[in-house]
């Protein structure tokens, strides 16, 4: 079951995972944390790479979404066309509903 629907506005967590006892393996780029976008598609459910990277089973599976962001929102000094987008695939536990 996916928590978010296509078209729904979501915000990426800006959590700061601890580096002890091990450095986290994260698939959510630093520059997108805290940014708001919309679900472009639901990619499916996959084992969590944060655990797989350390030899764990990565279960339970996490829903992966492709999220579409406005470039001008992501980069405050963005100078390209206003309609430019960037799409990033982000796991569900890194997303929250935008109020």
């Amino acid at each position: 079951m996916s928590r978010f629907a296509v078209g729904e506005r979501v915000t990426v967590h800006d959590r700061d995972p601890a580096w002890e006892p091990r450095k986290p393996h994260l698939r959510t780029p630093y520059y997108i944390r805290g940014k708001t976008g919309a679900v472009e598609r639901i990619c499916g459910e996959f084992r969590n790479p944060e655990g797989l990277a350390y030899g764990e089973d990565g279960l339970p599976k996490q829903t992966l979404y492709r999220i579409r962001f406005d470039q001008a929102h992501v980069w405050p000094d963005y100078s390209g066309p206003a309609h430019d987008k960037v799409e990033i695939e982000i796991y569900e536990h890194w997303l929250e509903k935008t109020p």
Partner: protein, 105 residues
């Protein structure tokens, strides 16, 4: 927030080199080793490869080439899993350096 060295999206990085280039035999060999470990031997996952690359010290991350980062991570992962031990690996590297001379920088 804490930012890992490899997580550099948006940082100033200079122009992207788009020239075509051929892979060297040693690079193809590393790619083949990774395929064997993942698909045939089930000893390593791509997520573990990636994690090992991210664990490189910043100066190593910046100075190593793409497949050099791969083999550094593959070796570290296999030592961690006990498939290789560090002393064997060091001895074998020393033996090859004696036989073939040091690698070009």
């Amino acid at each position: 927030m804490t930012r890992s060295h490899h997580d550099m999206g948006g940082e100033a990085a200079g122009p992207v080199v788009i020239a075509e280039h051929d892979y060297s035999p040693w690079e193809k060999r590393i790619d083949a080793i990774m395929s064997l470990l993942v698909q045939q031997k089930n000893l390593l996952r791509v997520d573990e490869l990636r994690r090992g690359i991210e664990a490189l010290a910043p100066d190593a991350y910046d100075s190593l080439t793409y497949y050099e980062r791969w083999i550094a991570s593959i070796a570290a992962n296999l030592v961690e899993k006990g498939v290789l031990n560090q002393a064997e690996l060091d001895a074998r590297c020393a033996e090859i350096a004696t036989r073939d001379g040091p690698l070009e920088a």
